[in-house]
Symmetry: C2
Subunit: 472 residues, 2 copies
């Protein structure tokens, strides 16, 4: 595109959203670079609309000028889906200024909010109404609900409440033509046509720009309880999960596993964090919520752990006695990625498998990786309740991490993803595709599904205005 045309577009954008909300010079790295610093893009401009109507105006102008748009929320994505490419031709559209909670309906148990609301602010808004918005993940202090929905974010309470998808009843979306679809809805049931809501959720900004959402709220549980337990192997972890699901039903809200090496890394790099149980091949972090109250909930939780001990599923267990103890157990779990960073760069995977397939998958893949890279150290942890593992690999002791990765990352991915595919799993459980896994997707996804995806993209965004080169 010519400079004249660029200038005309920038002038029109300034008229549409205000001159201060179109940034085309100076340091724009806060928007152009992802937070892991893996992609350094260059935007034609950063545009910050303040309303849905302004988003629609921006899309119309960009479509008119043949300029593509990269929507961005809190810029916390892990797959490069929310930063511009390096061409300097894309408009980075930041939703961050749209951060208003529009309505809380306590009786209907719903909250309607702008896409740019930070997740933690929505959790707090719900809490202020004595209700619970259960979406919870590491980036909650800066990620936005629009980004959470565009990527169908997961997190730590999916086992009970589902992914972002299951927590959304309705959307407001600006289409590739710059039209506003008002699909905000506080309805639990609505069978009037195709499910456009779920099509937009998880489409990573390639089919429409989410500008608002109506979300499900829940009564706040009377109490949350946390426990650690140790097991000898993954099969015991899976059996414990089944027992907990049977005995606690929907009261089981979290079921995380950590292998010995992942907690060992935490001990090495964060020795100040107490580890209440002796080291074991596997440690399980369980959480339950209860509507009734602390005493009966604790009795049920302890009785579950006793039954697990008697059945030989666990070797040891500890129930947190206070909120502080509970927080420190969660801190162990949440420190694993940080401890990995401290140890050095590593190969990360975000995979999902049928829960029943996990023990055999890990046995097979651990062995394959050890055979190919003797001494490789596996950091295996994640949301076993959802079949979602963060199955990561640190280089053998003594090797240079960066060199090891440069040489082997591609082949390590192949070993892991081939095994995932053989077990009917997913190569991206909760982080999405973006640019990082686009080629992997093209190679591994069913051609019939890819063909339908391409047809839908072409139907809804024939000009390729919205986030081109992501996902597909």
């Amino acid at each position: 595109m010519s400079n004249d045309s660029n200038d005309a577009l920038l002038t029109a954008l300034r008229a549409a959203v205000g001159p201060n909300q179109v940034l085309s010079s100076g340091d724009l790295s806060a928007w152009e670079r992802d937070w892991r610093k893996r992609w350094n893009g260059k935007a034609l401009a950063v545009v910050r609309p303040g309303s849905t109507a302004e988003v629609a105006a921006v899309v119309k102008l960009c479509a008119l000028h043949g300029v593509s748009i990269v929507p961005q929320g809190g810029n916390t994505g892990l797959v490069g889906g929310g930063v511009p490419d390096a061409s300097g031709t894309q408009v980075l559209l930041s939703l961050a200024r749209m951060n208003r909670v529009r309505q809380i309906d306590r009786t209907n148990l719903t909250m309607t909010a702008d896409a740019g609301c930070v997740l933690q602010a929505l959790q707090a808004a719900a809490d202020g109404a004595e209700l619970l918005f259960p979406l919870s993940l590491a980036a909650e202090g800066s990620c936005t609900i629009g980004g959470n929905l565009a990527t169908n974010a997961g997190g730590t309470q999916v086992l009970r409440y589902g992914n972002a998808r299951e927590l959304c009843l309705g959307l407001e979306v600006v289409t590739a033509q710059g039209e506003v679809w008002d699909g905000l809805s506080g309805l639990r049931k609505d069978n009037t046509g195709y499910d456009l809501r779920d099509l937009m959720i998880g489409s990573e900004g390639t089919l429409g720009i989410i500008t608002g959402a109506t979300l499900k709220l829940f009564p706040r549980p009377a109490v949350n309880l946390t426990a650690l337990a140790t097991t000898q192997d993954l099969a015991q972890c899976v059996a414990l999960l089944g027992l907990a699901q049977t005995r606690l039903g929907a009261g089981l809200t979290g079921f995380e596993v950590m292998n010995a090496f992942s907690l060992d890394l935490v001990k090495q790099h964060f020795p100040q964090l107490q580890q209440p149980l002796p080291a074991a091949p596997w440690t399980v972090l369980m959480e339950c919520a209860d509507a009734e109250g602390e005493a009966p909930a604790r009795a049920r939780f302890e009785s579950l752990l006793e039954a697990a001990l008697e059945a030989g599923l666990i070797d040891d267990a500890a129930v947190a006695e206070s909120l502080a103890q509970s927080a420190s157990l969660w801190q162990l779990r949440e420190s694993i990625p940080l401890a990995q960073s401290e140890e050095g760069v590593n190969v990360k995977h975000d995979i999902a498998l049928p829960v029943s397939a996990i023990p055999a998958f890990c046995a097979h893949t651990d062995a394959a990786l050890q055979a190919a890279y003797p001494g490789a150290r596996l950091v295996n942890f994640g949301h076993l309740g959802d079949g979602n593992l963060h199955y990561n690999l640190q280089c053998p002791v003594g090797e240079q991490a960066a060199q090891f990765l440069a040489r082997h990352e591609h082949d390590i991915n192949r070993i892991v993803f081939d095994a995932v595919q053989a077990a009917a799993g997913s190569i991206s459980a909760e982080h999405g595709i973006g640019v990082l896994k686009r080629e992997e997707l093209a190679e591994r996804k069913s051609p019939v599904a890819l063909q339908m995806m391409r047809a839908i993209k072409q139907a809804l965004d024939p000009q390729g205005v919205l986030n081109p080169g992501r996902v597909l």
Copy 2:
């Protein structure tokens, strides 16, 4: 199409699925007429494939010959989406022979089944594995899971377990081009591209033909308890719902309401059914499930009802003491549609509203209908927990029902649907669009949404092979 071409197609279909599975003469009314006998279609042929490959072959042949296909499961739909039109040119594709449970994975809590499996058979299969498949609705003895998913069926446990959509993890679908998309998946998390599963669910056979599904299973609760309670008005029902949600959490599995006239009709036409509580403006039927056991569950349930009595939300309550008593309470609720039929033809609505909007909606709409049709009798009952009412109207006493309907049904619908739209509700909560509500949808749905729906239909089925004239 010429008779020669028809003959060629029928010959090819017989070669594809076997001569006995292509019916083109004799009485085909079991497939051509819906079970309410509202639509009498005429098919070119009834084709009964026995496998996914055969379904694909049938679609390819029909596409080649320019003949459209109406997929059918148990033929229990209420909106005419599963019977052929009267032209004699459409192929009725029955999935009924595909009725195999392919796999139950007790550890992963999933079941994979053919689309033609009858819902009750799937409930029984889950029960045989000591697990629960919670989808439950009146037609469960003959409806099929493929039809349940194609229409996103609701039912009586949506409050706890969600609609058919929420109970499905993966699909196998034959596309309009006759390709097989193997999207069967036992994964709880999978963010690899657009959500084709949810696009197919609820699309009423217009975007693809569902041939198989992987479904969520749950541990069987240790106990289910049922209670009746009476209130003075809908606002009290809504307040009781909120109290029950707060105190029972996910333990609350059903919350149905019935107005006085609906139970009065049951009393008139089924006097043998015991009604344990005195008549009241509203009667609530509540159900809870509990993982722990009968005694603590009963204590929690009774304590909830005591609190509601003390708070003045209810006037009276009765908890079923046995499974037989529980069944007889549900029988009251389930006899309402039958009692309505006995009383005479009537105008039915299947609407959804934000729960918070329901008392004002009913006050307003009741009054509007009474003003327009003095003496009109409102049968108002349904799934209050999901905001879903079956808001029906019997003609005034003394009038001829059929004549009253012929004269007034259209205007009654207008009054009700205008009020639904004003309250941001849905004109079809759980029954779908089919042909019955197609024009209403075109009139009332957001034009932007309709435009996206049409673009998607055109993209996935450009030839219009799949169930044309339904939904859109």
